[in-house]
């Protein structure tokens, strides 16, 4: 089922891109590469690793491993409105309805044999304990070897050294399974792509800061999190360049002025994955999501001479690896840089990591006069969606900001 989905997506998007060969079409190019990745994951002739969100996908890619974080599949199932079936399967098997639906959906897919069997599994302790628990379930279910990258929360020399040593150990673990040693040359190339992508990402985010912003409410949806899967590749660089070109084009042509920007908003953590017209609704109200919390480059360029240390520093620097005071400081910086009027926190149900500090985040942003709308919503499981209530609260919030 999933292979067909990705295969059809690849064919459909390719056809559309062929009809407009001169167009920039950044989102379509992005969707095409993600669909190609999905197809590879389900193609059965690749070395596959299911991973935690902060795994070093560039390094794994350089070792010939097709890898992906499991929450990506949860999001795809939700966006294609097929998550319900898998959520029920997981719940029937005893997975609590109070748990994160990204994880429940993907676990349901494992139980229904709708996931490709991995060669091995790489868990990461960041962002969340629940994610690590689910990949342990993967390892147990598939009887596959399991490696954990413990990402310390404290950014200290010892912490970086510890994580760097684990990353190096991980390369031996991977080599043992693929029978291919780490090639410094290939890793160097991947890190070069990663650095070029990172620079382009910085440019993209700088352009998004323009007032009025050239982004629309969907343009950079979950971009920072998902791009991590592609950044160590030429395709990643091409996509970033396409996004940058499209934003420049929008600024040049004034296309973004078409919908007047009255209110500038930040979206905290991940977006809602299933079809829910919040973006259109915000658009109608003159509100624009100019920044997502996780759309930022928080790391220094990768040093090919110290690859493991560089990757370790990068992993620890990601906002959801840090403690909440650091995360709030990061959000405050974004709020000021993007000159936002308010923020929306979806408070994804079941997420202790991101949603847990809800009150602390509200207070932290209030300290710099940025009001926060806390929604109570499950970003993956639409079965209990109180659509009317959410709409009323969003409308009231925008009215208040206006």
């Amino acid at each position: 089922m999933m292979y067909e989905h990705f295969d059809n997506a690849v064919k459909g998007i390719t056809e559309k891109l062929n009809q407009d060969p001169e167009g920039i079409n950044a989102r379509k190019k992005y969707a095409l590469e993600l669909s190609k990745l999905g197809k590879k994951l389900y193609s059965k002739d690749e070395n596959i690793a299911w991973c935690g969100v902060t795994a070093p996908f560039d390094l794994l890619g350089s070792m010939g491993v097709t890898s992906c974080f499991v929450e990506f599949v949860g999001a795809i199932l939700s966006s294609t409105q097929t998550a319900g079936l898998f959520l029920e399967e997981a719940e029937d098997s005893g997975f609590a309805t109070d748990s994160c639906a990204y994880h429940r959906a993907v676990m349901g897919a494992v139980l229904k044999n709708a996931m490709p069997e991995p060669d091995f599994i790489i868990g990461t302790s960041s962002p969340c304990t629940a994610g690590l628990a689910i990949v342990e379930n993967f390892a147990n279910q598939y009887k596959k070897d399991f490696f954990i990258l413990n990402v310390p929360q404290n950014y200290t020399k010892d912490a970086v050294k510890f994580l760097a040593a684990q990353i190096e150990e991980m390369t031996s673990f991977v080599s043992d399974h693929t029978k291919r040693p780490l090639s410094k040359e290939k890793l160097g190339i991947a890190l070069d792509y990663f650095n070029r992508s990172s620079q382009l990402l910085k440019d993209i985010y700088d352009l998004a800061k323009t007032k009025p912003s050239p982004v629309d409410n969907k343009f950079l949806k979950d971009f920072g999190t998902v791009m991590a899967l592609l950044m160590g590749t030429q395709q990643g660089v091409d996509i970033c360049r396409a996004f940058k070109d499209e934003l420049n084009h929008r600024i040049k042509t004034g296309r973004h002025h078409a919908s007047k920007e009255k209110i500038r908003l930040m979206w905290i953590q991940n977006r809602i994955q299933y079809p829910f017209p919040i973006n259109e609704m915000l658009d109608d109200l003159g509100a624009r999501l100019v920044v997502d919390e996780l759309n930022d480059v928080t790391w220094e360029p990768m040093d090919p001479d110290k690859p493991f240390e560089s990757i370790a520093k990068r992993m620890i620097s990601i906002p959801y690896s840090m403690d909440t005071s650091e995360r709030i400081r990061h959000m405050q910086d974004l709020a000021l840089a993007y000159r936002i009027d308010g923020a929306i926190n979806p408070c994804h149900w079941g997420c202790r990591q991101g949603t847990g500090p809800r009150g602390l985040i509200s207070k932290g942003l209030k300290d710099i006069n940025v009001p926060v709308l806390n929604l109570e919503i499950d970003c993956v499981d639409s079965r209990n969606l109180a659509k009317g209530q959410i709409e009323t609260r969003v409308e009231a919030f925008i009215e208040m900001l206006s």
Binding site: S93, G94, F95, A96, D98, S99, C100, H103, G123, S125, C128, T129, A130, L132, A133, I134, E136, N137, A139, N140, F146, F147, I148, N150, P152, Q153, N154, D158, A159, F162, A165, Q166, E169, D323, T324, S325, C347, W349, G350, C351, R352, Q353, T355, G356, P357, R358, G359, L360, K363
Partner: protein, 359 residues
């Protein structure tokens, strides 16, 4: 009375707290403090963390010289975050705790425990620099730590003996008494707990028949009254696996390594881990461990008691259930919120379960 150091997680080595001249004070989630935690943390966090935070917000705590937090799970991380807001003047330390068990993790954790020791001695205005200690003449602080570990190990041995008796026969009141001993070690002193334990090794009352032998496990079950209730409901607790029961009294094996912090790391990370800690060589080994503990303690059934919203345990329940089913060991899973009220609601289910098990 000694100055107190607060802590919330069983991965906190009490001997280090005592060696630095403090009394341990594990903050249990028992409080009539009003529910205010929702102002800082989301309501979907585990009731353990929320109730501890309620205590902090309501100042329902004794005087504390500092707080030790462990980055053991998302909820504990969030508690450490919220503490700064609730009690900004408190001295705090957050230790990173690896999730997987291997040499790198153990080395790292030993450094974290060393950092804890240094911080605690500093908080008590005592210097501590084990890295410059000459091998021939160890500094007094290391001796203090070793002494406290020795007492702790005596307590662990006594607790083990009591548990061995519990697994063989039903002695009325012994489970509750054991919990009181463990709580004393957590909130007062190891010495006092040891004295209590040594008195309880030989039960005063003779063994009785007529209760169903059950192994209980989960995250947190600290109230001695709960064990009395279990007995009223026909349960003979043969053994338990909670971070507030014998799992908390982790014996520290100091024979294998000269570095005391490495010994602590080895012992705390490897022995009877919380669900959040994994043996990567045996994914899902928690399920086998529970089967084994149930069998070793001669239990006929297993009760899992899990706090709501506890991801590490809730995510492992399906594999635990499957492993128990495979061995034909009956199992029920109860969810609660740390209150006696929530336990009271389980009476009918527990009684039906023990009736089904028989004696």
């Amino acid at each position: 009375m000694n100055k107190k150091i607060g802590f919330t997680c069983a991965y906190t080595p009490v001997p280090l707290i005592e060696a630095a001249g403090f009394s341990p004070f594990r903050i249990f989630p028992e409080s009539k403090a009003p529910d205010q935690a929702g102002h800082l943390l989301h309501d979907n966090l585990c009731p353990h963390v929320k109730k501890v935070l309620n205590r902090a917000l309501a100042d329902d705590l004794p005087g504390l010289e500092g707080m030790v937090f462990i980055n053991s799970c998302d909820s504990m991380r969030r508690l450490a975050d919220a503490w700064h807001e609730a009690r900004p003047d408190d001295r705090t330390i957050l230790l990173d705790l690896p999730s997987g068990i291997n040499n790198l993790s153990l080395d790292f954790l030993s450094k974290e425990y060393e950092r804890l020791a240094k911080t605690l001695f500093k908080w008590n205005n005592e210097s501590f620099s084990p890295e410059i200690i000459p091998e021939i003449k160890p500094e007094i602080e290391l001796d203090k730590i070793k002494d406290k570990i020795a007492t702790w190990n005596l307590l662990a041995a006594s607790v083990k003996k009591i548990e061995e008796k519990m697994s063989l026969d039903y002695f009325p009141g012994i489970a509750s008494a054991l919990q009181q001993i463990i709580n004393t070690a957590a909130t007062d002193s190891t010495d006092k707990a040891l004295a209590m334990a040594q008195k309880k090794i030989e039960p005063k009352e003779p063994a009785k028949a007529g209760k169903s032998p059950v192994f209980i496990f989960g995250n947190l079950l600290f109230d001695p009254k709960v064990y009395d209730l279990f007995e009223e409901w026909n349960v003979h607790v043969t053994a338990s696996d909670f971070c507030t029961t014998s799992r908390f009294i982790t014996p520290v094996d100091t024979r294998t390594d000269n570095n005391i912090f490495r010994s602590l790391a080895d012992s705390y990370l490897k022995q009877t881990p919380c669900a959040r800690t994994m043996d990567t060589a045996k994914p899902g080994s928690i399920a086998q461990r529970i089967v084994q503990r149930a069998k070793e303690s001669n239990a006929k059934g297993v009760i899992g008691f899990i706090l709501k919203f506890c991801d590490p345990y809730l995510a492992r329940i399906p594999m635990i259930r499957q492993a128990l089913q495979k061995e034909s060991i009956p199992f029920i899973m109860l969810e609660g919120d740390c209150t006696m009220g929530s336990m009271g609601q389980q009476q009918t289910r527990i009684e039906a379960f023990t009736e089904m098990l028989g004696v």
